[in-house]
Amino acid sequence: MSTQLAAQINSLLAAFILLTAFAMLAQRKKLAILHLFAWQGLFLSVSTAIVGFVAKSHHLYISSLLTLTLKVVVLPYILHVLIRKLKIRKEIEAVVNVPTTMLIGIALVIFSYHLTAPIRELSTLVTRSTLAVALATVMLGLLMMITRRHAVTQIIGFLAMENGLFFAATSATYGMPLVVELGVALDILIAAFIFGIFFFHINTTFDSLDVDQMARLKEED
């Protein structure tokens, strides 16, 4: 496999990552969003392995494997169990309607392209062009956290943001040191557990995971 072909496949994977980010924004059902998140993790993992191949840095294979186990298997499984245990069946209510969110999303993609343009000029890596996509994924995750009311979707948005950051690290600098990546992976795992405990508490207190309920935290008067 030549470097040129690898870079092309990496671009295609970047496009798929962007696509899953948009699909998550458009999707209404929580389980479908979870599946999309798992797909995004898979694309990310394959992309990391390809970058590892191009850069000949073997620690990227390890982080690719880590991504595969954590973001494709473990985290979706934990969230899946949560959704089932908490009996969440309702469709998601968005603050802004879906087509408008999509348009904002497109604007964010253009913005991140504009923002990363100087870095593209400076960088010499083959993967430099995917940096804009990585930044856009971070912003789309943030947009998802802002526009969705439900706690579970906000968490998935947060995890998607982390995906974007990870992708930015591999595409801009061929990955962070392994120690940092291991630390981040552990953090994410711990975060997922803490989220789970929070969900249970929010659910038992308010009988709902809609974060609008949190506005009623003050004492009755």
């Binding site: 092309q8 671009s11 496009a15 253009i110």
Partner: protein, 314 residues
């Protein structure tokens, strides 16, 4: 041995006229098989058209010239569109007269007159169908143009022949912009040709029909022409997708061998495309009409992402 381009053009239009009903029959056959039903013959659409052509036309008393003129216009415009899209060869004399923007406009003319004819008689269904069709069209057309522009960015031309030439000479489908454009194009083609998630071609149920509602008042040879044009439109959209995204096998010069090989490739690709279409149609349920805006909105989004990723990633 060289073949004169005009001869190729004639052959291509003949292929369009007779392959379109067969393709519609083939889609119906695959669909029946996939649902465990006995399929009608491959030639059933041809027989339907022949039967309708021999029947008398029943016209409403208040039908104006628009109503009588529309079937001929729709048929003619569709055949003209078939003369522009490279089906078996890129060397078409007509292709120089119109690019892909004109092609979208041709389909728009056909749709405009069908909608007028739907309202012309003054029945409730016709008006309802026209209003729905125009709602969908107003969303599908910009998305269609964006998808086509994403491809023409890669080939630096809006001429269909040029696009086929560039894509067939090594511009791979692995390019993100083409992958996005293909996705958008599939969604739009489903909406434009009235296939399942948007409209159900097999039903005459009053509440859900869109295209059928507009042409409900037609009979005899008028209906035959409209049905034939509808089959050709489905055929043309599939062929347009094939020639813009998978053009391998389309003859790029006037070589006899290339021209003879092209139909074989075309039949193979059409067969596969029908299977794909049936998989989509059996896998999805018809969506609520108010969800169609989101469906086409996402098509527009994919097309725009395709254009953006051309600048970002390529």
């Amino acid at each position: 041995m060289k073949i004169h381009p005009f001869l190729i053009e004639m052959v291509q239009i003949a292929v369009l006229l007779f392959a379109a009903p067969l393709f519609a029959g083939w889609v119906k056959m695959v669909k029946c098989w996939s649902q465990g039903r006995t399929a009608p013959s491959l030639f059933q659409p041809v027989r339907d058209i022949r039967k309708l052509l021999s029947k008398d036309v029943v016209l409403a008393e208040n039908a104006s010239w628009i109503f009588r003129f529309t079937p001929y216009l729709v048929f003619g415009v569709t055949v003209l569109a078939g003369g522009i899209i490279p089906i078996i060869s890129t060397d078409l004399p007509l292709a120089a007269t119109a690019d892909v923007i004109a092609l979208v406009a041709l389909f728009a003319i056909a749709r405009f007159f069908t909608a007028l004819a739907g309202m012309d008689i003054g029945t409730a269904f016709g008006g309802m169908g026209s209003s729905r069709e125009m709602t969908i069209a107003s969303l599908a057309e910009p998305a269609m143009l964006m998808a086509i522009f994403a491809v023409s960015l890669a080939s630096k031309s809006t001429s269909l022949s040029q696009m086929v030439l560039v894509v067939s000479q090594g511009y791979s489908i692995l390019q993100p912009s083409l992958a996005f454009a293909l996705l958008a194009f599939i969604l739009i083609a489903l909406a434009e040709t009235g296939r399942v998630p948007v409209d159900n071609p097999a039903t005459h149920l009053e509440l859900t029909m869109i295209h059928e509602a507009m042409v409900l008042e037609y009979s005899g040879r008028h209906l035959a022409l409209i049905e034939w044009a509808k089959m050709m439109k489905l055929f043309l959209f599939v062929v347009l997708g094939i020639s813009a995204f998978f053009p391998w096998g389309i003859a790029v010069n006037d070589d006899l061998a290339g021209i003879l090989a092209a139909p074989a490739y075309l039949v193979m690709k059409l067969g596969l495309a029908a299977v794909g279409l049936v998989l989509i149609e059996t896998g999805l349920a018809k969506m609520r009409i108010f969800r169609v805006t989101e469906f086409l909105g996402s098509a527009f989004l994919f097309a725009t992402l395709g254009m953006l990723s051309f600048f970002i990633l390529e």
